[in-house]
């Protein structure tokens, strides 16, 4: 990578109440780049984002090892004041359910203006003027008149737009988006993804997109990291990973999708279920469900290697 990464997560290991939920997770995001973090429920993708932002409650969560470098600073070593200066300012965040992230007793204008007052020292009036501009930017028209509305008066799509306006208020270098469109209808999802893409290009912002939706990732991300049972198992440019997946889990996951199969035909499935944290064994956590497992897979952890296509598998699919 020519440029220094904006965010570099190195060997991140996190435990919840003593059980490891995230193990040796490493990835980086260059300025302006979009990285997709994908996987099924419980794979650790949200924990990765929350711990990178230091938003995990501890206890029960504890970082056992690793570094999280944002613009060269180790997020894990920062005091609370410095952390607050970065979060919501240099790093913006949006989550799946905007209703629980918005404060129900404040108007949306006040909530957007707040971060400008806190982080940029803007005056109340200037901040509200900027809030109106931001609402317009995220596609809530007649923005001045909307500033006095409360979250419950808005639709789900509008609330997510407000969350994006708040996240973008300070023109962050990185946007962390955790399932930002999962609760939305598909036509509204298309609007929101279009909006994020447009703002990203205009502002040169990097995005860490966390989702279970492989289609969304394929259409919006530059690079993709696939997680399984607390580890990254494969990482590659989006165009490569979907065309020639090498990890057997990624391959199986893509094959099970209805869209990848002729209508009505029996879908390939992955036998068994994801092992819960604490029962993941010493080797590859996917080995018990893997059709291509070798004897060594259960006992020996495969290292993740290769560039730009990284894969952690003893018996990967052909690179084709």
């Amino acid at each position: 990578m020519a440029e220094a990464p904006l965010l570099a997560v190195e060997g991140l290991t996190v435990a919840m109440g003593g059980t490891p939920v995230l193990e040796d997770v490493s990835f980086s995001i260059a300025p302006g780049e979009t990285l997709g973090l994908v996987g099924e429920s419980g794979c650790g993708k949200s924990v990765t984002a929350l711990s990178a932002m230091r938003l995990l409650p501890h206890p029960p969560a504890r970082v056992l090892g690793g570094r999280i470098l944002f613009e060269g600073e180790d997020m894990l070593a920062l005091d609370d004041a410095r952390l607050r200066a970065i979060r919501g300012n240099r790093i913006g965040m949006i989550f799946q359910e905007p209703m629980t992230s918005l404060n129900p007793v404040f108007t949306i204008g006040d909530q957007i203006a707040e971060s400008l007052v806190v982080h940029r020292g803007a005056s109340g009036a200037a901040a509200l003027g900027e809030a109106a501009r931001l609402l317009d930017l995220v596609g809530i028209p007649a923005a001045r008149g909307q500033l006095g509305r409360y979250p419950h008066e808005l639709s789900g799509g509008q609330r997510q737009r407000v969350m994006i306006a708040i996240a973008l208020a300070c023109r962050p270098r990185l946007l962390v988006a955790d399932e930002p469109t999962t609760a939305l209808d598909v036509t509204v999802q298309a609007q929101i993804l279009d909006l994020v893409g447009r703002l990203r290009r205009e502002m040169g912002m990097a995005v860490l997109l966390i989702t279970h939706d492989l289609g969304v990732v394929a259409e919006t991300c530059d690079r993709v990291a696939v997680m399984y049972a607390g580890r990254i198992v494969e990482e590659a440019p989006a165009s490569r990973i979907f065309a020639v997946p090498r990890h057997r889990y990624t391959q199986a996951l893509l094959r099970t999708m209805p869209a990848a199969n002729p209508p009505g035909r029996r879908l390939p499935s992955i036998a068994g279920t994801v092992p819960p944290p604490g029962a993941r064994g010493a080797g590859c956590a996917f080995a018990p469900r893997c059709a291509a497992a070798l004897p060594r897979c259960a006992g020996e952890l495969p290292p993740i290697a290769g560039a730009p296509h990284r894969v952690g598998c003893w018996n990967p699919a052909e690179a084709a």
Binding site: S41, D185, T187, Q189, A218, T256, P268
Partner: protein
């Protein structure tokens, strides 16, 4: 052969604070024996209400539902309870639908008790048969719902729905809460059951690729009405109604060759208590003309360039 189910001019209304919501506003379709009709549309389009109204789990305000030649809207409560032996439903949330205090055997066998089918021994045998049918181990009968994963709980709900050998299954988002790898197992199960038992299905989902995979025909709903209905391949590959076109274009795909030029809709679905007059889609329709405000277009066969006529409700498509 006469259709198994025929719905004519069905209306369901809810009284809400903002006024009367016409959740289902004049819907008609028929379902052949052994056929799967997929119903798609976004939140608030009325697809779930339609599914419940077919079984009279919500009471229609007007219209008729003919099941196997009998007008079931005329049945009294007792007659309807007896009729539901043939008409069962599976919902999205498999946990909310299962009583956590009961053992799986009691849950699956409950319809047999309610409808006084067989004696204790024959019911136990039937439960064992049903568990095997949906791919659960025999000892599942003695366990409680919380001991099962989401996918297994959905199998339990399906086993219960099949206990009385229904001829119609209304499946309302049956795989939406499940991870991709588990989703494919449940979709396969439903396909197997359809083939083995000759089940007819109304399959309701917001997930268009799942609906495409399982359905013979597809109905697209918008604000309480069917705007287009036809053979799954035809509707999916070449949607005719402007809303159906926008909806299908919004689906993100992993496979670049499946992506279509995205039609971004403006705004969101109007307040269902105050839908626009004329065609309800006209406020967001990229092709709307003045005549679209004058009257609501009927769902009728219309000409499509290079394809057989399609049933669609749009003034811009010429009647066939």
């Amino acid at each position: 052969m006469s259709p198994l189910l025929e719905v004519r001019d069905l209306h369901v209304r809810y009284e809400a604070r903002g006024g009367t919501i016409r959740a289902v506003d004049g819907v008609g379709f028929s379902l052949a024996r052994g056929e799967v009709l997929g119903v798609v549309g976004e939140s608030g389009c009325g697809k779930s209400t339609l599914g419940r109204a077919i079984l009279r789990l919500v009471e229609p305000a007007a219209g008729t539902i003919v099941f196997d030649g009998e007008d079931i809207t005329r049945l009294d409560r007792r007659g309807m309870v007896a009729r539901r032996r043939d008409m069962q439903v599976v919902f999205q949330d498999p946990f909310g639908a299962l009583n956590p205090r009961h053992r799986v055997g009691e849950i699956v066998g409950e319809p047999l008790v309610v409808h006084r089918v067989g004696d204790r021994a024959s019911r136990a045998a039937r439960v064992a048969e049903l568990l095997e049918l949906v791919g659960l181990p025999p000892d599942a009968a003695r366990r409680h719902p919380h001991e099962f994963s989401g996918g297994q709980r959905q199998r339990i709900a399906i086993a219960r729905a099949l206990a009385l050998e229904p001829r119609l299954l209304v499946a309302d988002e049956p795989v939406s809460a499940l991870d991709v790898s588990i989703q494919s197992q449940v979709i396969n199960l439903l396909s197997d059951l359809r083939a083995r038992l000759g089940l007819s299905m109304v399959f309701i989902s917001h997930d268009l690729s799942v609906v495409r995979h399982v359905s013979d025909r597809i109905a697209v709903m918008y604000l309480g009405r069917i705007v287009e209905i036809g053979a799954a391949a035809e509707v999916f590959d070449a949607p005719a109604h402007p809303y159906a076109r926008a909806l299908l274009s919004a689906v993100p795909h992993v496979d670049p060759s499946r992506r279509r030029d995205r039609i971004l809709l403006q705004g969101e679905m109007p307040d269902p208590a105050h839908p626009p007059g004329g065609c309800a889609f006209r406020t967001r329709c990229p092709a709307a003309e003045p005549r679209c405000a004058a009257s609501a277009p009927a769902l009728a066969a219309r000409r499509i360039a290079g394809a057989p006529p399609r049933e669609a409700a749009c003034h811009l498509l010429e009647a066939a």
